[in-house]
Subunit: 213 residues, 2 copies
DNA sequence: ATATGAATTAAACAAATGATTAATAAAAAA
DNA sequence: TTTTTTATTAATCATTTGTTTAATTCATAT
């Protein structure tokens, strides 16, 4: 049984001391903002207002601290996915609506997460290998419902991986382009979030049109 | 008039000496692979097989070298965009086909580019501000044709920024997820590229279904 | 109250890193 | 050829960075 927990806003049983939590919070914030290499241990010490030596005292090394944060962040991310995708009670169309709402809210709350995850994953794909929930998406109720629809002749047939990829693409990618979109459309951060909120309703409709015969 | 040119495979009039080109090639490759902070000047010197001091002799600082590469990379990326989007002879549907083909080929040739650009842009959005072609996409023939279609009642009406964002999302995002997709689908790099090549045909059809009434 | 272990601190270390220097080699100009 | 400019090299500098140490404070149990 894994005993992990990352940040102060998490609820799972938490063995971490105050100091550890301060370190983890600051480190997560900095790693997300600047990435692994650009974040120094002294940055983390300053931001969390602890003595530099405490980082190594509690977490042994910067690398190990990073890996704990990476694991927790990935786990949190994937858990929220699985939750929606495997709900037996909802239809495919409801799931589409639920997951775009949930993801968009989640990323508005933590906008640096997607770029961070995908970027650090590129440098170290093995950290993803360890995650249990990884393959669950393709075996989820969500995909099964799509394939049923194909059988019934309601939906067009494509490899489910394309279907899932498309859904995630139109949800997540715009956030990764936020600096570009904000620039070319002259949007404030607030305006941008309004635009993303609009998409909560639009995306399910687009996806349905995309697959419906 | 800007006189820039980055790498050996570029053709524009090139004032750079052999040594400079070796440095630029190695630096681009390393910056793309590892990002700015994780790349050291000694890495670049080793990879380009030049003396460490030559980097500062020719480019003054690591930061300045990076900015040259970033500018050139962005410029190259955006130029290819504008080319397709502003072609007066092609229809919207042809443009969709052309641009998904062109982008997918481009990213297959340089798969690290999207993550690199978006990641480094997050750290320094001003570098994008300097680019001239930035706002051209929204004023392109591509967008105009979509809006015409809306007027004619052929296409559903949404803010063009959503339309453009969606097109780019389904083209680019899958590449940024390549480690994930390869993992959950058990694909080799070759298999993955085949899958992306499939999408060249699929994407234009999806987008049309998405917007057509 | 005292002793024991855990938590915290300031200082220091060793390696890495961006940048510079001073000397030398090569190329171009005189 | 000689002079002058440009390119290249090895060595060095000053910081920065991850990590450790040794001393000190704090908390807890005896």
């Amino acid at each position: 049984m894994i005993k992990f927990i990352l940040c102060s806003n998490n609820i799972v049983d938490n063995n971490y001391s105050n100091t550890e939590i301060k370190i983890l919070d600051a480190a997560k914030s900095l790693f997300l903002k600047k990435g692994y290499s650009a974040t120094t241990t002294r940055d983390i010490a300053r931001e969390s207002d602890i003595n530099l030596a405490m980082l190594n005292y509690y977490f042994r090394s910067k690398r190990r601290l990073f890996e704990i944060i990476m694991f927790e962040t990935l786990y949190e991310f994937l858990s929220k996915m699985v939750e929606v995708y495997n709900d037996e009670k909802t239809s495919l169309e409801q799931k589409l609506k639920l997951c775009s709402e949930k993801y968009i809210d989640m990323i508005i709350a933590e906008p640096l997460l997607p770029t961070f995850v995908l970027n650090e994953l590129k440098n170290n794909p093995t950290s993803f290998l360890k995650m249990p929930t990884t393959k669950m998406i393709m075996k989820s109720n969500f995909v099964a419902q799509y394939q049923e629809g194909v059988k019934k002749g309601i939906y067009r047939k494509v490899d489910p991986i394309h279907f899932v990829t498309n859904v995630l693409s139109v949800i997540v990618f715009p956030f990764m382009c936020s600096p570009i979109i904000m620039k070319i459309e002259n949007l404030s951060k607030k305006d941008f979030n309004i635009m993303m909120t609009e998409r909560k309703k639009l995306i399910p409709a687009w996806i349905i049109q995309m697959i419906k015969k």
